[in-house]
Subunit: 85 residues, 4 copies
DNA sequence: CTGCCATTTTACCGGC
DNA sequence: GCCGGTAAAATGGCAG
C-alpha cells in the first residue's frame, strides 16, 4: 500500500509540475501579446492617431464578427434542422 | 484643400489599417493562450487536481518572481549609482 | 522648545483627526451612492432591462455634447479612412 | 398588435426614464462627494500635511474596519448555528 | 505628459 | 444553462 501511495504521489508530482509549467508558459506568451499590443498603440499614438478611437473601432469590429459568427451558427442550426446539412 | 485632406486620409488609412490588423492579430493570439490555459486547467481537474490550489501556487510563484526581478532592478540601480556598472 | 513642539503636535493632531474624519464620512456617503446605483440597476434588471445598454445610454448622456460630437466626427473619419463606412 | 406593442414601449419608456434619472442623480451626488474629498485633501496639503500618508492611514483604518465587520459576521453566524440568536 | 491609482468593465467559476 | 459573486484587465483621472 505504501508503495502504491508513494508511486501515486510521485506520478502526481510530475503531472502537477507539467500542469504548472504549461500554464506558466502560456501566461507568459499571453503577457507578451498584451505587451506587443501596448507597443502598437504607443506607435500609433506616436504617429498622431487617437488611441481611444482606434480601440473603439476594434471593439466594434469584434462585436460585428461575433454577431456574424452567431448568425452563421444559427443558420447552420436551421439548415441541420431541415436536413440541409 | 480637399485634395490634401483626401491624401492625408488615404495615407493615414493605410497606417490605420495596419495598426488595427496587427492589434487584432495579437488579440487573437492572446485569446488563444487564454483558451489553452483553460484547457490545461480542465485537464488538470479531470485528473483529480484541485484547480483553485494550482492557481494559488502559480500566483505565488509569479509574486516571488516579480519580487526577485524588482530586487535585481534595485540592485542594478545601486550598482550603477556607485559606478559598478 | 519642548512646550512649543508639544503644542504644535497637539494642534496638528486635532487637524489631522478632523481631516481623516471628514474624508471617511465623505467616502461613506460616496459608497452609499454607489450602492444605491447598484440597487437601481438590479431593479432594472429585474424588470427585464438590459443593464449594459442603460449604462451606455447614461454614459452618452454624461459625455459633454460638443466633445461627443467631436469624437463621433473623428470616429467617422477613421472609419472612412479604412473603408468601414 | 401595434397597440399592444406601443403600450409596452410607452410603459417601458417611463420606467427606463425613471431608472436613468435616478442613476444620474445618484452619480451626481457621488461625484460631489469625490470632489469634496479632493477639497479636504487640498486643504490638508495647504496646511502642510502629507496627503499620501493620510491616504495610507485612511486605507488602513478601512481595512481594519472591514476585517472587524467580517469577524462580527462570522461570530453571528456561529451564534446562530448554536441557537444563540 | 507620463506614470500611478481608483474605478469600471469584463471574464471566470461555482452555485442552483 | 443561467445567474450570482469574485478576480483580472482595461479604462479614466489625477498628482507630480
Amino acid at each position: 500500500m505504501s508503495d502504491t501511495a508513494t508511486t501515486d504521489v510521485t506520478l502526481s508530482g510530475d503531472q502537477l509540475k507539467s500542469i504548472i509549467e504549461r500554464v506558466e508558459q502560456l501566461e507568459e506568451e499571453k503577457a507578451e501579446r498584451a505587451s506587443d499590443i501596448k507597443d502598437v498603440y504607443a506607435e500609433a499614438k506616436g504617429n498622431g492617431f487617437d488611441v481611444g478611437t482606434i480601440k473603439r473601432i476594434i471593439k466594434e469590429r469584434k462585436a460585428d464578427k461575433d454577431r456574424l459568427a452567431e448568425e452563421e451558427e444559427l443558420l447552420d442550426l436551421y439548415k441541420r434542422a431541415i436536413g440541409m446539412a
